[in-house]
């Protein structure tokens, strides 16, 4: 029987799996999930907002190490040095097509399908020497349940005009986009390109930065200070970092400015009479919205702080991880340890830390 289980077969679980493969064979890892294609959910969302390029950079991939990045692969594929030159100045962003191709190739050669078991896990229970997942026992478990669902504001739930940005949709002649993050910005441009008149409804002005969170939070330099914050300050910091943002650049600003001059784009404080309302409002936040995590917290009386399960800096659940067993969270639920946990880099971080714990386990 395998010692290690990954619960969740999306990109976070898939990325963590690639790291685990550096130390384990496919037969030693079980991946529980509902879809064998790790990009299935993400692909649908990217298609819904007609995303062509990734926000992430060359290292935004599922491999266990930052090198080789997607830029180098792109050099080989395009037979051009341009991606390499762009990546040294952080201006390379892989296309969605390149990213999905990378996922597919990685899936084929990593043994992912050998480890995959189609099962929706409903409960994870701690035992003395490991964890029980729907009757099976494992010493080390990494939970990567993904986002618990799409976030639609309460006042729009019954509104027939409303559609979430990550659901398939076309554009009406007048569109209101709620939200101000990357998905919202993408939808502004999409709707304008479709000839619509666009209204942006937002509570806060979006931050303009290249990645989801400032770059220092991707390394120990920023993480060290973050981990030292007392809980209430860490909650505040996470809320601040979760505020909407999208990258700076002419490709965003010029079409919007042009549309503004033409009277086709404006910002308003509340909904108006648009024919269509697109909710670019992300995902349901927090462990309470995830049945698996909510049950885990309840079963084991885990410490929480606001929307987050309290984790050690290595993304493990402190009370359920020791020298013989490990329970770690990857993806969005891992933000208490890594603010950018819902990125590929975040999933890689959780995978690295998880593998480190497994290697240090005295029973191995």
């Amino acid at each position: 029987m395998a010692d290690v289980a990954v619960v969740g077969s999306g990109l976070a679980g898939f990325t963590a799996y690639q790291t685990l493969r550096r130390g384990l064979e496919p037969g030693e890892i079980v991946v529980f999930g509902t879809d064998a294609d790790p990009a299935a959910a993400w692909r649908a969302r990217a298609a819904a907002i007609r995303q062509h390029a990734m926000r992430s950079e060359s290292d935004g991939h599922c491999g266990p190490a930052t090198f080789p990045g997607l830029a180098l692969r792109s050099v080989l594929r395009r037979r051009s040095l341009k991606p390499l030159l762009e990546t040294v100045s952080d201006r390379y962003h892989p296309t969605v097509e390149e990213f999905l191709d990378h996922v597919e190739r990685t899936r084929e050669r990593s043994g992912w399908d050998e480890s995959f078991v189609p099962r929706r896990v409903g409960r994870v229970q701690a035992r003395d020497d490991g964890f029980e997942i729907d009757g099976d026992r494992f010493r080390h478990v990494l939970l990567a349940p993904g986002h618990p669902g799409l976030n639609v504001p309460d006042e729009l739930r019954q509104d027939v005009r409303a559609v979430h940005a990550y659901e398939p949709h076309e554009y009406a002649s007048t569109v209101t986009v709620v939200g101000a993050g990357l998905a919202a910005a993408t939808e502004w441009l999409n709707a304008l390109a479709a000839g619509a008149e666009v209204v942006s409804v937002r509570r806060h002005e979006p931050a303009r930065r290249p990645l989801n969170v400032p770059r220092e939070y991707f390394s120990r330099r920023g993480l060290g200070a973050f981990h030292r914050l007392p809980p209430h300050e860490r909650i505040e910091r996470l809320h601040a970092l979760s505020a909407p943002s999208y990258p700076a650049g002419r490709e965003w600003d010029e079409p919007l400015e042009q549309a503004r001059l033409e009277g086709r784009f404006r910002v308003e404080a509340s909904l108006n009479g648009s024919a269509q309302v697109i909710c670019a409002t992300g995902f349901l936040p927090g462990w309470r919205n995830d049945p698996l995590l909510a049950r885990l917290v309840a079963d084991h009386d885990l410490e929480t702080a606001g929307d987050w399960v309290v984790l050690d800096p290595d993304s493990t659940v402190p009370t359920l991880s020791d020298r013989v067993r490990t329970l770690a969270l990857a993806g969005a639920p891992g933000q208490w340890a890594f603010p950018a946990a819902d990125t590929l880099a975040g999933a890689r971080y959780a995978g690295h830390q998880f593998l480190r714990r497994i290697k240090a386990c005295r029973t191995r």
């Binding site: 040294v88 952080d90 991707f218 330099r221 920023g222």
Partner: protein
């Protein structure tokens, strides 16, 4: 990449380690210390900048930033190298720095992430490997310093008074003359890495004879009354500084004659005063820099770069030479810059038209580049004969 300070230092030292080991191998092969000195300097400059500047300046560092940072570090390293007189040759020094830079770039972008999966998340920290690398660098540098110290030649103090020569030096040593120390009959250097300082030599066939050895340094020596050459160098690498050579009355000898050492790298004659002799300073088949010397009253040529030599004569002062002041002869390539040649006398007795008191002469397929030389009261300023040429600068200086 957002480096922690520890990560920045560990990454640098780990990248430096293979370069440093290469420097040690190079130093052994070349039998010179400059590669190790250069590597140590690269480490020191890099670490100081890491701690004092780069870490504070860059919370996040794009990959391209390593290029301007490398150029800044290169500038500082070169400034210190040449400011402190480490005598590292420019070309190899640049090459070594470039290799070090390239190794660091490849390691930080590819090598470290592959060897340590969490390299980026760890802010460049390398875990145990970082400590091992730092210890390795320290060990190599301390080992090199210890080797340098142990290999320092013994110092032999020559007491004041006259010592009967010739003295033949057959081991590595520093011969340090006390004030008033005189060797009568000459000194023969017969071993590598001999330094002679502050010694006066009287007589001898050659005042100081240096043949088939390397690493000789003559500093502050005085030579008088040699029968042939004041300082005679054959197939030997040498640095001569601050010497005084009196060749008055010697019509066949040279003040300093450095010949047939092209394969020994650069030699140097600097800050010497030479009076009399047929040639004040002459080189044959040699690469020698002749700088800041004062040569006067020679009967052949004051300074001669001859017989397929390549060399620079710069900031020298030549006075009252008979026939020719500066000479570039016999398929040599010479650079004459900022020299002063005053009062060259015509050698009418020789009947040689090329010796009509020429300040700068190029002869027999030679090529001389001139830059801002000061030529005063010479019957002929310049002459190029027998298929030779001057590369005229736009401001030749007269």
């Amino acid at each position: 990449m957002s480096y922690t300070l520890k990560g920045r230092i560990e990454s640098r030292l780990a990248a430096l380690l293979p370069v440093l080991l290469g420097c040690c191998v190079l130093a052994i092969a070349l039998r010179h210390w400059w590669p190790v000195e250069l590597c140590a300097l690269m480490a020191a400059v890099g670490l100081v900048l890491d701690v004092q500047v780069w870490h504070r300046l860059f919370r996040y560092q794009s990959a391209w930033v390593i290029l301007p940072l490398g150029l800044v570090e290169l500038g500082l390293v070169l400034a210190i190298v040449y400011g402190a007189g480490l005598h590292a040759p420019l070309g190899p020094a640049l090459l070594l720095f470039a290799v070090g830079w390239l190794v660091a770039f490849v390691l930080t972008q590819a090598g470290y992430p592959l060897l340590r999966l969490s390299y980026a998340e760890d802010g460049g920290e390398l875990g145990r490997a970082g400590g091992v690398a730092a210890a390795g660098v320290l060990l190599v540098l301390v080992g090199s310093a210890a080797t340098w110290y142990v290999r320092q030649p013994p110092v032999v103090h020559l007491a004041a008074g006259v010592h009967q020569g010739p003295i033949v030096i057959r081991r590595r040593e520093v011969l340090q003359g006390s004030p008033g120390a005189v060797v009568k009959g000459g000194i023969v250097v017969a071993h590598d890495d001999v330094h002679i300082r502050d010694v006066t030599v009287l007589g001898g066939q050659n005042g100081i004879d240096v043949e088939n050895v390397d690493g000789t340094v003559l500093d502050g020596v005085t030579v008088q009354g040699a029968k042939l050459d004041g300082i005679h160098v054959r197939s030997a690498g040498i640095v001569i500084k601050n010497c005084t050579i009196d060749m008055l009355g010697n019509k066949i000898g040279q003040g300093i004659d450095i010949s047939f050492n092209m394969d020994m790298g650069m030699s140097m004659v600097e800050g010497c005063t030479i009076v009399g002799g047929m040639q004040g300073i002459t080189t044959h088949s040699s690469m020698t820099d002749i700088m800041d010397n004062r040569v006067s009253r020679t009967t052949g040529q004051a300074i001669s770069v001859a017989e397929m030599s390549m060399g620079m004569a710069m900031d020298n002062e030549v006075r009252d030479a008979l026939g020719v002041g500066l000479n570039c002869d016999d398929q040599s390539m010479c650079m004459f810059e900022h020299n002063t040649v005053i009062g060259t006398q015509p050698d009418t007795a020789s009947g040689d038209p090329s010796r009509r008191g020429v300040a700068i002469l190029a002869s027999f397929y030679s090529e001389a580049s001139l830059w801002q030389n000061r030529l005063v009261a010479n019957p002929v300023a310049t002459g190029a004969i027998t298929s030779s040429l001057f590369r005229w600068t736009h401001d030749p200086g007269w």
